[in-house]
């Protein structure tokens, strides 16, 4: 029986449900010390002086460092040359939360006490805490070298003026895609131990090899004695692929004081120091005919980079603009973008990274077209979909060569679950009844770019390469170990890889282990991000398993005195097709694979061990159709999601249970962005949502149940057919929710509402309409 496609329970769970997980903060090596930051309370200020004397005098304090102690060190990797963040602020701070000093003490209680004793004298400077403030004439400049606050501006190649002038209709929207804090429940944690035999860094990270490569290079030490371990990691959502000062500081402090140094971020720190996501503003215009057919699209993305632009942040608008056209055939698309610095936390990848922003805008525009033309939103989508027979489909962007999809099929499947006509009637009825809650129905036909893997794709973000490694190693007893460069942190990759390998190898699922997250154990690796773990890494497991299996067949054939082509496997036994009575078990093949005397001619011991650096020719393009039904309380403005219908096309499903989990989790974060979360700053750059009391990560009662369906358009770029599903929900949910809210209020002339859709925003609209 094939395990790929089966609802298999996770191998990860027994440890995690018993408290036997091992997260970085759980590690407490002998002599372990604790590092605590003093972080800037100013958004923009000169540092006049830092008084560390009292902190240093506190018993138990081992070191207090400011930038003066590390003057020789380069700035934090990952930034843009000249605009990068110092490990500790030098002379000037540029956002609230920037590290100013660190304390190391024998335990975290003393370290916290010492941090309180450090006095930083600031000379405040004017701050720019929003895009408009940063771009205003005469605005204070964050980085002198830039001369302004724009880091990069990419103008339209052709602004499509003629197409717009000639079009029967046009419409525009200004959209603010709200800044979010990724907020994994485990904040950032790292533990460094730099002794005579080298540096070991345990880090809550999504890409340990990437960190090893970087930290070794940073300190100029050889990689053979630099080890990075990402043990159990409590969620990442893109935020744990960024290089942050703590990694480098704990390492160097450990070397300096000769003891392991651990840093455990608090939540309040995490909300201002872990890189944020989204934070874009869009100016979007669309030209269309009276039937709702799109003729041209024009999009300018302004990306808030926060105080220190980094490679990933700079890439976000590239991804957004690449996916600007969504699932639609649009004859002319013009894109432009601008990256701007502000006195806020730097911005980088957060689940979806640039694609949720794209899908939000195009899906809002589709509803705007429907509103303008009177054509039903579902019908506008259908009229503009790229048809199934048009793939591969070249878009305006060389990045986005859509290779597959069935957008109408997903919408058809969705409408089987949604009683659309009834809902529309109900909506009308409620509008007539002032006591009834308003009903809104919102659709999103979304498409994203995932499976980051084609050569060059991750190199652009500073990674070594874009393949993923997989080593499949058969043990002498016939069990198998898979070593992967992917670095799962909740996705269930250990389970899916074992499923894939079990099918390819014919070895029992229970006798396959998957090792990851340790650069001393796994050959090389890239990491888990961009929904690539299955589409690239899983494909690698399949390739390597296939190679091992071919060699195993050759050994079995040799033992059975048959020809390898005739060998098949069932129940872990190899035999010649048609003669199952005479067989050799996997365990025997495995055992003998290590014994030169038992091997077929030309084969060497170790033949059942294969390492693959899996490459894929293209990105993958997961898509789907979502529908959200909301109710709006006319008196309070409160929005309640009644139903959330989700049809995903992630290609081949390896494990429906895990796909469901990924979809739910992504959708939950999407709903959170749409209704609850907003990392807000006041005009002086002080964050107003820097604890879990104000930054509203929703709880169980705040989210709906989900009704899910699926279609399968296999990914043509790998043999598994899988596209990736980790980010889908966060791409599809926000436009579905907001379209539903706007639909509920459309009779009042509402065209758009920015996220998060808070009760007060809705109430103001309802009041305004009175």
């Amino acid at each position: 029986m094939s395990l790929v496609g089966a609802r298999v329970l996770r191998k990860e769970d027994p440890n995690l449900i018993t408290g036997n997980g091992q997260y970085v903060d759980d590690l407490q090596p002998a002599g372990c010390t604790s590092m605590v930051f003093v972080r800037s309370t100013e958004a923009h200020a000169k540092i006049r002086s830092i008084d560390t004397a009292e902190a240093l005098a506190l018993p138990g304090v081992l070191a207090v460092w400011t930038s003066a102690n590390i003057a020789q060190l380069a700035n934090c990797p990952g930034g843009l040359p000249g605009l990068d963040q110092p490990l500790l602020a030098k002379d000037i701070v540029r956002f609230v939360g920037e590290g100013v000093a660190v304390v190391v003490a024998t335990d975290r209680y003393i370290a916290a006490d010492a941090a309180e004793l450090i006095i930083v004298d600031y000379e405040p400077l004017p701050a720019v805490a929003s895009l408009s403030a940063a771009m205003a004439p005469g605005a204070v400049v964050l980085h002198e070298v830039l001369g302004g606050n724009t880091v990069h501006f990419q103008d339209f190649e052709n602004p499509l003026n003629e197409a717009f002038a000639a079009a029967p209709r046009t419409a525009s929207l200004h959209i603010v895609n709200n800044r979010c804090a990724p907020s994994p429940i485990e904040p950032n944690v790292c533990l460094a131990d730099w002794g005579r035999s080298g540096l070991t860094l345990w880090a809550a990270f999504q890409a340990p090899h990437h960190l090893r490569n970087t930290i070794a290079q940073y300190f100029g030490i050889p990689q053979d004695s630099t080890r990075v371990v990402a043990p159990d990691v409590g969620g990442g959502f893109g935020a744990k692929i960024n290089f942050v000062p703590e990694f480098f500081l704990t390492a160097l402090l450990s070397k300096e004081i000769g003891k392991p140094v651990k840093y455990t971020q608090t939540r309040s720190e995490c909300l201002v120091a872990m890189l944020h996501g989204r934070a874009q503003e869009h100016d979007a215009s669309v030209a269309f005919d009276n039937d709702g057919r799109i003729l041209a699209l024009k999009l300018t993305v302004t990306q808030d980079q926060g105080a220190y632009p980094n490679g990933t942040g700079m890439g976000l608008p590239v991804l957004t603009t690449a996916m600007a056209a969504g699932c639609y055939r649009i004859p002319a698309v013009a894109i432009s973008w601008r990256n701007v610095v502000t006195n806020t936390t730097p911005v980088a990848a957060y689940r979806g990274a640039g694609r949720p922003e794209a899908s939000f805008t195009i899906e809002r525009l589709i509803d705007l077209i429907a509103d303008e033309t009177g054509v039903d939103p579902v019908e506008v989508r259908r009229r503009n979909f790229i048809p199934v027979d048009a793939f591969p489909y070249a878009t305006h962007s060389p990045l986005a060569m859509y290779d597959s999809g069935n957008f109408a099929g997903a919408l058809d499947e969705l409408l089987k679950h949604v009683n659309y006509d009834e809902l529309k009637k109900e909506q009308e009825k409620r509008r007539q009844d002032p006591a009834a809650k308003l009903l809104g129905i919102g659709f999103a036909s979304w498409l994203e770019i995932a499976g980051f893997g084609p050569p060059g794709s991750l190199e652009a973000f500073g990674h070594l390469a874009s393949w993923e490694s997989a080593q499949v190693r058969i043990q002498p007893d016939g069990s198998a170990i898979i070593f992967t460069g992917a670095s799962p942190h909740g996705q269930g990759t250990v389970t899916t890889y074992a499923q894939i390998a079990a099918d390819e190898l014919g070895i029992d699922f229970d006798r396959i282990s998957v090792k990851h997250g340790d650069t001393a154990v796994v050959p090389q690796g890239i990491g888990t991000m961009g929904s690539r773990a299955v589409a690239v890494g899983g494909e690698g497991v399949k390739t390597a398993s296939g190679r091992v299996y071919e060699n195993a067949k050759r050994i079995a054939a040799h033992l059975l005195e048959a020809s390898a082509e005739d060998i098949i496997i069932e129940d872990e036994k190899f035999f010649v097709k048609g003669t199952p009575a005479r067989s050799v078990p996997w365990s025997e093949v495995a055992w003998k694979s290590f014994q030169p005397l038992e091997l077929p001619g030309g084969m060497e011991p170790g033949a059942l061990d294969s390492t693959v650096f899996q490459q894929v020719p293209n990105f993958s393009f997961p898509s789907g159709a979502y529908c959200c039904v909301v109710e709006i309380d006319r008196e309070t403005g409160g929005v309640n999601i009644v139903n959330m219908y989700l049809v995903d096309d992630c290609g081949t499903v390896i494990n429906p249970l895990l796909v469901e989990g990924q979809v739910h989790g992504g959708v939950a974060q999407g709903i959170a962005q749409a209704l609850y979360e907003h990392m807000l700053y006041d005009p002086s750059g002080v964050p107003r949502t820097s604890t879990f009391m104000d930054y509203l990560v929703p709880a169980a009662s705040d989210l709906p149940g989900y009704i899910t369906g699926r279609i399968n358009t296999p990914n043509p770029s790998n043999t598994l057919g899988a596209k990736g599903v980790g980010e889908s929900g966060s791409v599809g949910a926000p436009p579905a929710v907001v379209n539903a809210v706007v639909d509920a209020l459309s009779h009042l002339g509402v065209k758009h509402i920015d996220m998060p859709v808070t009760p007060i925003k809705v109430w103001n609209i309802l009041e305004g309409a009175k």
């Binding site: 107003r688 709880a699 009662s701 705040d702 007060i760």
Partner: protein, 273 residues
């Protein structure tokens, strides 16, 4: 995350607590359920020199019937109030409100006394105490004194409890078989109210508002209007009298006052069912 250092002493009786309060002076704080105090201490917004732990004073954790009153010991936990048959019968509003505080873990630790003395205008139980016309029993070195809930709340996070004193009990007049309702408006289920309305009907009606002033707020004119049997519209017309609502991320003054009207109206609809 880490509170500053403090000295810790345990009080074993009310007398003991009063003695310890006198001994340790202004820098000491009583520790009850800790669910307002400990979060503030972890952020080092509060740094008491001494904590006097009163959680072990068993005599302050009780719910009893006393003539026309239900008396609740100050250290009674939200959860015990929520589940008490006596409270459900005679003070269904109070039982319900206790069940609306925070989340289950908070209700398992937090005490009614702590909630009242903390005096947070956004808290739930103070509104219930105001709407039901409760009386606070405060003990000090000169014995016990009583003060109405209305006079008890003085300012933002400030009550009439004086240095050296401890709140020992809350006397609630029974509101058996009378209509009541609590409307709590939040964005996220377990949060403090953006606005809340506690309504007690019956012989001694009262309506109190959450997060509508610098302190827990009894809507005096509205309560009087209800007492006189005024029409709902007339109650709503005065519900925002003397309010002083805060402005924050979730609401403006105007929106809060609007919510107070809407929630009061809803409370009426529910209470008279």
């Amino acid at each position: 995350m880490i509170p500053a250092q403090f000295d810790y002493v345990e009080a074993t009786s009310v007398a003991d607590a009063i003695r310890l309060l006198a001994e340790h002076g202004d820098e000491a704080k009583l520790l009850a359920g800790g669910h307002s105090l400990i979060p503030l201490m972890k952020l080092r917004l509060v740094t008491p020199a001494t904590l006097i732990d009163v959680t072990h004073i068993k005599e302050l954790s009780y719910i009893k019937e006393d003539g026309n009153n239900i008396v609740i010991g100050a250290l009674t936990r939200h959860r015990d109030i929520e589940e008490s048959d006596l409270v459900k019968k005679h003070l269904p509003l109070v039982a319900h409100v206790a069940g609306e505080v925070g989340d289950p873990q908070v209700r398992n630790r937090g005490t009614i006394g702590g909630s009242l003395v903390h005096g947070d205008p956004a808290a739930d139980l103070p509104a219930a105490a105001l709407a039901t016309g409760a009386t606070m029993v405060i003990a000090g070195k000169n014995g016990e004194r009583r003060i109405s809930a209305q006079d008890f709340f003085v300012d933002f996070l400030e009550t009439d409890v004086q240095p050296g004193e401890i709140l020992v009990a809350i006397e609630f007049p029974k509101h058996t078989d009378a209509g009541w309702a609590y409307e709590k408006f939040v964005r996220r289920a377990m949060d403090y109210s953006i606005v809340g309305v506690a309504l007690q009907l019956g012989a001694k009606p009262g309506v109190a508002l959450v997060n509508m002033s610098n302190k827990p707020h009894l809507a005096v004119s509205a309560s009087q209007a209800i007492g006189k049997g005024a029409a709902i519209a007339d109650v709503l017309a005065v519900i925002n009298d003397d309010t002083n609502p805060p402005e924050d991320l979730n609401a403006t003054v105007e929106y809060r006052q609007h919510l107070a009207r809407v929630l009061t109206q809803r409370a009426f609809a529910t209470a008279s069912k």
